[in-house]
Assembly symmetry: D3
Homo-oligomer: 137 residues x 6
Amino acid sequence: MKMKVFRRETFNAAHRLYNPNWTDEQNEATFGKCNNPNWHGHNYVIIAEVEGEINPDTGYVVDMKILKKIMQEEVCEIFDHKNLNLDVREMQNIIPTAENICVVAWNLIRNKLDTKLNLKIRLYETERNFVEYDGNV
Amino acid sequence: MKMKVFRRETFNAAHRLYNPNWTDEQNEATFGKCNNPNWHGHNYVIIAEVEGEINPDTGYVVDMKILKKIMQEEVCEIFDHKNLNLDVREMQNIIPTAENICVVAWNLIRNKLDTKLNLKIRLYETERNFVEYDGNV
Amino acid sequence: MKMKVFRRETFNAAHRLYNPNWTDEQNEATFGKCNNPNWHGHNYVIIAEVEGEINPDTGYVVDMKILKKIMQEEVCEIFDHKNLNLDVREMQNIIPTAENICVVAWNLIRNKLDTKLNLKIRLYETERNFVEYDGNV
Amino acid sequence: MKMKVFRRETFNAAHRLYNPNWTDEQNEATFGKCNNPNWHGHNYVIIAEVEGEINPDTGYVVDMKILKKIMQEEVCEIFDHKNLNLDVREMQNIIPTAENICVVAWNLIRNKLDTKLNLKIRLYETERNFVEYDGNV
Amino acid sequence: MKMKVFRRETFNAAHRLYNPNWTDEQNEATFGKCNNPNWHGHNYVIIAEVEGEINPDTGYVVDMKILKKIMQEEVCEIFDHKNLNLDVREMQNIIPTAENICVVAWNLIRNKLDTKLNLKIRLYETERNFVEYDGNV
Amino acid sequence: MKMKVFRRETFNAAHRLYNPNWTDEQNEATFGKCNNPNWHGHNYVIIAEVEGEINPDTGYVVDMKILKKIMQEEVCEIFDHKNLNLDVREMQNIIPTAENICVVAWNLIRNKLDTKLNLKIRLYETERNFVEYDGNV
């Protein structure tokens, strides 16, 4: 039987939306207050959705302790209490919109997840704005 | 890369569930307390889910400021603090169930959204009852 | 030992804010969109906070089944799916602001509650607006 | 028009994760603190997602009163305030992981639901761990 | 300046409400389904409210890392994934109602907290039932 | 009749916990990851609790539109999408802990609020850490 299992984790980070190929005016016009050169920040919520078969011996699709460990080591410990523009190697040269953070998080978790499992990542930037990515192009 | 982005807005409205082609007894039997002729109301939560490609220049699928503006102008300002049966032209001759409100909201937002973007609308009538529509028939 | 116990219930209702002693202009200026003559509505959340001694035989301050029954019979069944201006005898000649609904609910529950117990009522009109009343003047 | 409607219910239960074909050491290594022989428990949240056509006479995909009744009679009354390993016939010889509880709940609700309607069940074991099943294999 | 700071933690446990001095009939009449001899369980949420002066050197009333550690070591590690009737020495001979669990948790945390700080504990047993204790008699 | 009314607003900001009178080692030992020199950030939730008499003409303790305006103009517009250490004049030379932000917000709102009304401010830094201040010393 195919199931989906979900695990929710959190991290808090600073960022700034800014395209280095643009003038300040273009950045201001597009990103508005998110372009503040002194940064702002968010409490991010990340939910990993993993699809696979139930293992009849355990009743698990994936052991949540393992999924939690992957999410924490690959994403939360790298992003938490960091500046996403300055401190996170995996975000270098990437505008840290919720969309782009979600894609980077998907890739980091995908690399550590059993290839038999499908992965989708949902990322909440605020209560009202959130995004989702499943690796499809 | 294909992503989904979500935006959450709210509106508060009165309504009554009532089929004018039916007798009072039929309406009462089907709609129960939702059929109260003096109306009742809800705090509605609407979430727009928009699917599209990430723009590499902005890192956005769609600018949330634009999506918010469409949702507010097309749905919230028209439905908020209104009687859905009496005050809203777009709901005329439509039983204002969560299902039908969701379809109307989908059409109103769809009309203003870039045709390259897919749209799904989720509408919460209460914490425990909600619906979703994506335009498929 | 003195404790507080809390019970959460919900009801959905229509209302209109309107002072019959005022002109339409005064009502519009004060109550704005809440003054819509065709009504609007809310999902109300009511939380009763009851303070008293723990009964050593039961470990209860008050049996939650009894508190739930009082809240449902005295408030929810009377207010739920009703028009607070037209349908609720206890709200007659009272402007149905969150404040006034809260005071009426406090009185209705207070009448049925053991006099040894203190009572406070919190009422949420929306996620962002709520009120609290404990009978003090 | 095809829609999805969702209904949220809750139940509270005790359980223990344990594979009777394994040694205590294997169970401890796999299930950790969830293997406590004296049980532990959770507040489960179950959300039924039902897909179907809007009935033009009612504006409903399915009457929420009926969906609520099916969920309560088939799942909540059987699981609520019970020990999932000992008290629930439908869970006999099944390791009561969130995954397996979700599959059992799906089957119980599916049996009572109109065959024209599609069903998906989401089950929250905690705020951070949840699962979803739609009958696909 | 006097402030209150709050920290939220969680634990999941099984319990049964049962007074050993009573007959089965009395227990059943008082505790109903909470009296199930095979146990049931909950996801408990505990919020510690600590009142004190802001330390001008740190801007803290109390370092949240220390408050978190006290809550986890004194309460969560002792109660989590346990049977509150059978496994927890601190609950021996105490009916594990939310009220009594809250008092025990208050005492355990109070013992480790700086005497200059005031303490109040709020404990959620479900979304709808919760209690609060501040040591007053 | 004396009531409390509450209004919830939000803002997102970057900050760093750092005492300029201390060595880097002292700052690191006390503030840990909150001391990151490149900043981090949060989605803050602020709830103003205002106590006063119900105006019998309006049924209001305070018009929520006015309370909302004060909170937005005095706090949200000044703090939102800002660096609390660098961008906010009102936070100059103040370590931006939740405690200190709460006191500053209390003072800013207190200055604009009718002196007949009492004020308490609750500030959430995360889901798990929050503080409250009412002006008492």
